[in-house]
Symmetry: C2
Subunit: 151 residues, 2 copies
């Protein structure tokens, strides 16, 4: 795993991340963020914190303490594989202004490491065709097709 640039940090999302809106800005590169009032944000952080064995919402901050990358690992307890666990990587987003610093790779490798510590037998994610090369560079392989149904 390459090191983070000087002054950059990887940490869990917290309630204080509502203020400067940088978490929302970074996620809005990936998809629709929508409206999240402060009480709703705090409730979600509490929901995640009460279920730390499931939800690992992580961010990378730069030397100015601004969130510039996001990533979630959540852990599913299954019956298959001897009651095994699967790590799901979700909501990976990196600010384009920070490209070339391998922040995406560093985020993915760290989420895989959390999954290993949690005892998962595999880690999976769904992505666009155009991001396959990036995830291959992270050590991942194509496993199947993502199908969806939208309400």
């Amino acid at each position: 795993v390459p090191a983070l640039p000087q002054g950059y940090n990887l940490r869990r999302v917290g309630k204080e991340d509502f203020q400067d809106k940088n978490l929302f800005k970074t996620l809005s590169i990936l998809t629709t963020v929508g409206d999240i009032p402060e009480p709703k944000f705090h409730a979600l952080i509490e929901y995640w914190n009460d279920r730390k064995e499931i939800y690992n919402p992580m961010v990378i901050t730069n030397a100015e303490n601004v969130i510039i990358a996001t990533g979630m690992l959540f852990v599913e307890h299954k019956l298959i594989h001897g009651g095994g666990k699967v790590g799901h990587i979700e909501d990976i987003s990196v600010n384009p202004s920070e490209q070339g610093k391998k922040l995406g790779l560093i985020m993915i490798r760290n989420l895989i490491q959390i999954a290993q510590t949690e005892g998962c037998y595999k880690v999976i994610l769904d992505c666009d065709e155009k991001n396959v090369r990036f995830y291959e560079k992270c050590g991942m392989k194509i496993e199947g097709v993502e199908m969806g149904y939208r309400f």
Copy 2:
């Protein structure tokens, strides 16, 4: 949604499903089930039952009360989409001896219905290329590529 055949039932997995091993037999059509001693099985059922807003492990039983199909819906709370929820469909398995009764379709449509009741903005799953046609018949569309990393 087509109706279940006479005498067939859709219900949640319970601790009593350890005894006759039909749950394990049905899942072993999908993948490796491995060894799950009774206390470990009971602990997992309790873990799922304590988190009913996340885990919906379902089975279909036939007229002889034998489990012949399985499916899981688990619900992820996200920050994106205004603090939206995503339903993940997992561990779909149907006993080949029961083919032609649309049990797979009935299971999927029921899991999608649970996701709608839970307020999910979408439902997703990962599958082999060879199952794409089946999931399209269930009303789903290809959304992306599944990538994985195995420990």
